[in-house]
Amino acid sequence: MIDLRSVSRIYRRGADEVHALERVSLHIPAARFVALMGPSGSGKSTLLNILAGLDRPSDGEVVVAGQRLNDLDEDELAAFRARHVGFVFQFFNLIPVLSALENVELPLLLTHLGKAERRERAATALRIVGLAERAGHSPGQLSGGEQQRVAIARALVSDPEIIVADEPTGDLDAKNAEDTLALLRTLKQEFGKTVVMVTHDPRAEKYVDLVHHLDKGVLFETREGGAAAAGGQP
């Protein structure tokens, strides 16, 4: 599903070069829940951005869902993301002037679906995350945990193969963090999604199949997560 071959990413910061990733190779099979872990500045978010088509490697090859992302221009990358990738961010990033249902509907505006069909799918996604009754509420009227579930419904609504989550529990309390991790696990278990998550949260390890550890831009360890060890159950 996701193949990174000797991927490097170098940023320019003034006259200096920052080596965010150093020849990282990684294979993530379909329908796995994977965590990218490591200290701040280890390059895990950069890696996530590259495999999600948000950023380009300075060197190396990125193949996701059968497409070589190195060959795609900006518009093609946007189309790739709309079709294949759902995003969940740390701070939810919902549009405050839209209701929960409208926020979930947002990615569907890029499809050819009619309004009724879009609404129907958005309502279904909200039902999956357990927020059907909160559809008409604006983000400001929802708790942090609820907002993150709306964000997960938004990531899910266009039925992408891959869901990437950047610190999805970083702004949540313990209870909501556990709920969010469980929900992401459900997406993998019940809907066959490939979920790639960047996290610092040690609780995440028991929900994922694989943990990749990065430090200073280098992938130095890959091991099974708690879910794999428990036969697929956290």
Partner: protein, 388 residues
Amino acid sequence: MIRFLPLIWRNLGRNKVRSSLTGAAIALAIALVCVLRTMPAGLDNFLSTLAKNTRISVHNEAGIVYPLPYSYLQKVRSVPGVVEATTWTWFGGAFEEEKGVTFPNFAVDAETIGAVYEDLGIAPEQLETFRRQRDATLVGRLTLQKYGWKIGDRITLKSTVFPVDLELQIVGEIPAAVDPRAWLQREYLSQALEAQGVSFDLVNMIWARVDDADRVNEVMRTIDELFRNSEAETASETEKSFFGNLFGNLQGFVTVILMVTGMVTLCIVFIAANTASMSIRERVGEIAVMKALGFRWRALFGMLVLEAALLATLAGAAGTVITLGLAQALKSVAGFSPQLGPLASFVVTNAMLVEGLFLACFIGIVSGLVPAFGASRRSVAATLREIF
């Protein structure tokens, strides 16, 4: 883009105070521009509606303040090609003495004025009453509206030229919307002056109507030739040329007005651009998220520009409504201004309002272009790194 309209609309309401204040600034600017535009348009309209190329003015070659002998009238009438001729003499009557002359008024020949000005659309029965009734006056619609006068009202004008006050009865209307002038009988003025022992045998100018536009130049040459080497040589010109020259000094005003209009537009572009960039800067995170979700930069660029254009166009619509009210108020306060002439007619046309709307839309588009381009082209990864 249509499916994004609800989102664009919601974004307009995101910061209601800021949107309202920007909208108010644009609305007032559009109203100001439209009202200013009525001024040069008033001059053009005056010349095109009231001035004809088949009517010629015969005045003293030295200038219109120098009179001509009244006896010239008969000679002008006898020139081949002249259908009819009449005289104008500046009465300079003030209705409210302390305000001076607030509308132009002339003593004219009641017998012939109708034939020379047949195109003005004055009702025949009103012209007939004017001809028969010695103290009659015909008043332009602009002045009737300004003072709230109606036919049958009696008014007194105190002349600033002659030592007489004349009591007059309004018997009819000069119906053009931009016409401020009033006519009274020359005979009435003559009798009033004779009663005070003042002889009255001069005119300021003679107006003649020519039967054929192709003969106008020939008729003007003939008239001027007729009075060559006389005590008062004449200079003839068409009515359009006469008023064009008369109001020529207003062209400077017009230039200033156009410059002010341009500056106001530029100012409001900067204000609107500042608002657009503030509004967009607050949303760079959201815009980055939308790009991450798969929105292409052109779609985001279009949405942001459309948002600025929509706000400006709605404000422009409000501005056109303000224009109508403001022009009406100015018209009732100012009416004819001796200093501004037809510039102060404040007649708003549909074309001006449509232009105002387009200008508002243009302001919105221009103000949104730069911030929208910057935000929509920004790298998603870089933005997410900076913001989150």
